[in-house]
Amino acid sequence: MANASRIFRVNAPDVVSETIDGETVIIHLFKGLYYNLNPLGSYVWTQVEAGATQAEVRERLAQQYANFGEAEATSVAQLFEKIVAEELVVEAECADAGAEPPAIATPPETFEAPVLYKYADMQDMLALDPIHDVDEAGWPSLPPEAVEASKTF
């Protein structure tokens, strides 16, 4: 389990995110992946953006929800693990003094386990394998299967 005292920052510029009406949309520009977070996940995300540690987030949630117990704490910890594993956030050396304040001041009214939805249906628009094959003039070439895929444009 991730160290609960670590501070993270959004993995910019590869990752961009926007929180609107209590939900967050995240795009990993380099990987061709995109995500959204449900309201509780979105609350956690905005706290991370603001420099809160996992322990601090857990403490705030425990204050907010009477039924916040071990299972709920585990679900939050797992969300931290997911956003780290997906490289949506990276560890920060220290809290960002200029960090934006959280877009959501309070968590959702009821606790619903955080969910990270992941979408990969745009990856075929990117050449995810590095382009190393070039001719003597420096022009790259695509593998035949990619050329075939282009016919569906």
């Binding site: 926007e18 609107i20 995109y34 679900s75 249906d121 990856q123 995810l128 382009i131 990619a146």
Partner: protein, 391 residues
């Protein structure tokens, strides 16, 4: 428990890559190298033009910007202009745009096969990490210059932003695919127009004079069919696939507006809803794997609107049921439908582009539209919605 869910908001299964993607190493290149290459491209274009009898000029007004295409000979004209022919301007229509004056952007276009003049070797040719995911050349100061190589048909796009100069070279005109003819110069226009506050957007747009509905979603979501269904109604048509959005909402500019860019409408294989459009296809003699596309300005000129203010955002989905219904939806649903398919289509998608789209879905009411099989209901439902939101 926290879950990592692989799904799609429209109920379509999606594929998740399980292969780790290694980040590309950082690359830094001197921008002067790229600028010298641009000057070499300009000289090469002149040699190509001289080789085939001179320069052919075509002028276009795109979202209020005067864009001049200079062709070396005529070989590429028929492949590169049909999709934007509705925006063509002549000296008579725009006296200020004469050969003596400088247009907002000039694009030199030539091909190696017909002119016998190829581009100079790339200065980055020995760098194994030169290319990004879209074939863009990495490492130069992108506020000044952008370069990309299209590997699907061997074409080079070069833009020098300070000089408002671009070059587009293709090895062989014969290799230009139908989708480039239908929607030419996407990369160059995306790069240059974004600097003018005009965002290349993957969306359809239809509406009434007072305002339109932006239809957002990836390919196959129904936005194109929706836009084309509106050709049989009183609604005006701006786009069915790509449009330009102005607004700069972050800087507090006036209302967002969608501008016409391409008048081509591609008909997806298996689309049984629009059989009346197939006989109008521009590419009647097409390859088996080539989609038919219709140049709408040739057949429905009265329907085309050069631009409309954006008053609503619609997220379409196909239901298979007869009736069409519109209901409010979350702004995040609209952003999920709009942003990824726009950002991942072209090189240069970045934070600012995403923030602009987020500002758009915050500012404009968002709806889902459940598309019924009775196509006549679709424009009626959209018209009713628009009359409500603009009143």
């Amino acid at each position: 428990m926290a879950r990592d869910v692989c799904s799609n908001i429209f109920g379509v299964d999606v594929m998740v890559s399980t292969t780790p993607i290694e980040p590309l190493p950082e690359v830094r290149r001197e921008v002067t190298e790229a600028l010298r290459y641009g000057e070499a491209l300009e000289r090469t274009f002149e040699r190509a033009a001289n080789a085939v009898g001179g320069v052919e000029v075509r002028d276009f007004a795109i979202a209020g910007c005067a864009i001049r295409l200079r062709f070396a000979g005529s070989a590429a004209i028929a492949k590169m202009t049909p999709g934007i022919a509705h925006l063509a301007i002549t000296a008579a229509e725009a006296p200020s745009l004469t050969p003596d004056l400088t247009p907002d952007l000039t694009i030199d276009i030539w091909d190696g096969a017909s002119t016998g003049v190829e581009v100079p070797p790339a200065p980055w040719r020995d760098d194994p990490n030169a290319y990004g995911a879209h074939g863009e050349v990495r490492g130069y100061d992108e506020t000044r210059v952008s370069i990309a190589f299209n590997m699907f048909f061997d074409a080079l796009s070069f833009l020098d932003r300070d000089r408002d100069y671009a070059a587009f070279y293709v090895r062989d005109v014969a290799a230009i695919p139908f989708w480039e003819t239908a929607a030419p110069l996407r990369v160059l226009l995306h790069w240059w127009l974004s600097g003018r506050g005009l965002h290349f957007t993957h969306a359809a747009m239809v509406g009434i004079e007072a305002g339109g509905a932006l239809l957002v979603g990836k390919g196959g979501s129904g936005k194109s069919t929706t836009a084309l269904a509106c050709l049989d109604s009183d609604l005006r048509y701006v786009s069915d696939d790509y449009c330009l959005l102005s607004g700069c909402l972050l800087s507090g500019a006036p209302e967002p507006r969608a501008y016409s860019l391409y008048s081509s409408a591609k008909i997806r294989p298996g689309n049984t809803h629009l059989p009346h459009l197939l006989p109008l296809a521009y590419n009647q003699e097409r390859e088996p794997d080539e989609k038919p596309f219709v140049l709408l300005h040739e057949h429905f000129p009265e329907k085309l609107a050069p631009s409309l203010p954006v008053k609503a955002i619609l997220v379409p989905h196909v239901t298979g049921q007869p009736d069409t219904q519109i209901a409010p939806t979350k702004a995040t649903a609209a952003l999920l439908a709009l942003a990824p398919s726009t950002i991942f289509q072209l090189p240069g998608g970045d934070t600012a582009q995403f923030q602009e789209m987020a500002a758009l879905v915050r500012a404009v009411p968002c709806y889902s539209i459940a598309l019924g099989t009775d196509l006549a209901q679709i424009p009626r439902a959209i018209a009713t919605l628009l009359e409500q939101v603009v009143s």
